[in-house]
């Protein structure tokens, strides 16, 4: 759910401000729904047995879904502030397995007065605190 961050603006954002943490359970059905909605219906994203045949520990989450989940962490934080997500980079370090409890984290790392933007680090971790997907994002605030 987007936060009511309508008072969030370039002036009030501070380096070190946190996004999340947001804990959630990622179900296999959610991953299948994403695979279906985005035309990525391939065995490694939909079926444990077929994924194991490909040498994976079980069905995995598409990298693009992890990117979408992380971008939602940022856009939920922006809420109704009128800010815009202008850039996002992700690195897939380890496969994200569904049927696990995952946590999204982020914090503001920099502010650029000239561009009216804030930079943030974002990541997705599992129950063991392993950062499976890490990334950065840029948010532009209206002037």
């Amino acid at each position: 759910m987007p936060e009511d961050n309508s008072d969030l603006n370039f002036e009030t954002v501070k380096i070190g401000d946190e996004l999340g943490p947001e804990e959630f359970h990622l179900s296999k059905d959610q991953v299948r729904a994403y695979a279906r909605a985005t035309g990525m219906w391939v065995p490694r994203f939909t079926d444990d047995e077929a994924a194991r045949k490909e040498g994976l520990p079980g069905m995995i989450t598409p990298g693009n879904m992890s990117l979408a989940i992380l971008s939602k962490l940022v856009t939920d934080w922006m809420g109704a502030s009128g800010a815009r997500l202008t850039r996002m980079g992700t690195t897939y370090r380890q496969p994200v397995m569904p049927d696990h409890t995952l946590t999204l984290h982020g914090f503001v790392t920099d502010k650029k007065d000239i561009d009216h933007t804030a930079e943030m680090d974002i990541w997705l971790e599992n129950e063991d605190g392993e950062r499976l997907v890490v990334g950065t994002a840029t948010v532009h605030f209206p002037r």
Binding site: A37, G63, N64, A68, K72, G82, R87, M88, G89, G135
Partner: protein, 147 residues
């Protein structure tokens, strides 16, 4: 030094047929990622928003399928290639009704030595354009090859 033909850098190797974005595609995507922001899900609320109508969430930009011949144009080194990540620049909104075209080129090839050995990174840039020839996003695919 990585060996490659410098002429491939920047040359568009594939442009897809336009793909029409339907309201249903955007709605299914929102459901699948748990998107509840009314600017993406509620036509009435979105009408009062900055784009005067429903727009897809930014990450919808990465759901478009690359051209059929995409992977045969991505240079490979060594035995294993991995999708190491993506860098996306969200330039403008994607709305239901848009027809999106993808054009791809090799942007950069470089070698890096990390703690697990030598790797070659191939960056392929895909630019998404709508039916008005407006760029809506740039997606840099980062492919990592172990040599």
């Amino acid at each position: 030094m990585v060996d490659y033909d410098p002429a491939i850098i920047g040359r568009v190797f594939e442009t897809t047929e336009p793909l029409q974005v339907s309201a249903e595609m955007v709605a299914n995507f929102c459901t699948a990622i748990g998107e509840s922001n009314p600017l993406h899900t509620d036509a009435d609320a979105a009408k009062k928003g900055p784009y005067a109508g429903i727009t897809a969430p930014p990450s919808f930009a990465v759901t478009f399928r690359n051209g059929q011949h995409f992977f045969q144009h991505v240079p490979r080194y060594g035995k294993q290639g991995f999708d190491a990540g993506k860098d996306v620049e969200f330039v403008g909104p994607i709305r239901p009704g848009d027809a999106i075209t993808l054009s791809s080129h090799v942007k950069e090839i470089y070698e890096k030595t990390g703690r697990t050995g030598s790797m070659v990174f191939v960056i392929v840039r895909t630019t998404l354009t709508n039916q008005k020839s407006e760029v809506v996003a740039h997606i840099d695919h980062r492919f990592m090859n172990r040599t």
